[in-house]
Symmetry: C2
Subunit: 184 residues, 2 copies
DNA sequence: CTGTTATATGGAATAATGTAACAAAAGTTG
DNA sequence: CAACTTTTGTTACATTATTCCATATAACAG
């Protein structure tokens, strides 16, 4: 049984990171994508929380770890990771966060639907807490119908879409549970 | 009877501009908002087409008209216009376009629902043609249900949302009709 | 109308975000 | 190894947006 898709402040995030990295390694190996050292480091930065992180914050963090890097390198890695479907970009804040879907399920199944996930046309919904910065990601299949309906009514040929919803997450509605503020 | 909400390449845009400016004047007068000379000039730039325009393009255009302006002035006007609901911001391209809803209806009615339009919580859908840059804006009431459903399932308190759909508009699917490319 | 306050704009500098162009290094393949 | 493709490094620069402080204009009370 699953709890809310929206990550809680007090969850054990090391699991999330470990699962994501494990998945990324396997996913890239199976698809022939090259998760290089640089790309993996960038992914680790993005996966470090459920908040969105900016390219220059990633740059700063990696430089602080002693790596000599230019902005363009970070952007290139982010492009790769986004293309691979491992991370998403929040358009409204120029920042990136790790894809949160399916990891639990996929990890122990052999590789069911492994190659078909994280498609660009997935009807993704991002719930963005403006208080703590945490992001919840939901794949909402009914959104497809809505999009197709609007598009066909206007003879529009859809390539991709993104629904960003801003507001306040549960934990931030209950300030007693709150632990950390958005820091972007 | 109305044709497609998505603006066609061959429509008479002077009507759109005139209607929008007329509406803006009346709307601001009625609501007490101050549509100053600067703000009006910026709005005219944004309303000059159904494509999204960037802040620095507006700046260039106005400077070319002989106005001495700094970026910050344009941004301040854009903020005002957005707050007023007269323009929208495309998050994915850092650009702005004029709100396209309701003008025809409102202009000849006395002022029905004039003060309640362009609310931040309107379930707006933006159809963005990646070929010509034209933007179609639709208010899709069924989106409210979807958003509320996703939000309540995750105990999320919604403040506002935006759905950006990218693809190709009718005219650009029929290249024979095509007139101008996106220039952003 | 005058002084007071709030609101709007001007002006300079700079911050934050993102990319171009080309060279070097590392991986892939025959 | 040699030729090729892909990735990364390096430098410079382009684009987008904001901070800070001064000035100007509008709104309003007395």
């Amino acid at each position: 049984m699953k709890q809310s898709l929206f990550p809680q402040h007090d969850h054990d995030h090391s699991d999330c990171t470990a699962n994501l990295m494990k998945f990324a390694d396997r996913y890239c190996q199976q698809t022939g994508l090259r998760l290089t050292k640089l790309r993996r480091m960038v992914l680790e930065q993005v996966a470090a929380s459920h908040k969105a992180i900016g390219a220059y914050q990633i740059l700063d963090n990696l430089q602080a770890e002693g790596h000599k890097l230019a902005p363009i390198s970070v952007y290139r890695s982010l492009d790769f990771l986004q293309e691979a479907g491992l991370i998403h970009r929040l358009e409204s804040t120029n920042s990136y966060f790790a894809c949160q879907r399916n990891f639990d399920e996929d990890l122990d199944g052999k590789n069911k639907s492994l190659l078909s996930r994280c498609s660009k046309v997935d009807p993704l919904v991002f719930l963005i807490c403006e208080d703590c910065g945490t992001i919840g990601e939901v794949e909402e299949s009914s959104l497809v119908n809505l999009i197709n309906s609007v598009a066909s009514a206007n003879h529009f040929d859809v390539e991709r879409s993104q629904l960003e919803i801003k507001g306040t997450c549960t934990s931030c509605q209950n300030p007693s549970i709150k632990k950390s503020k958005a820091s972007s």
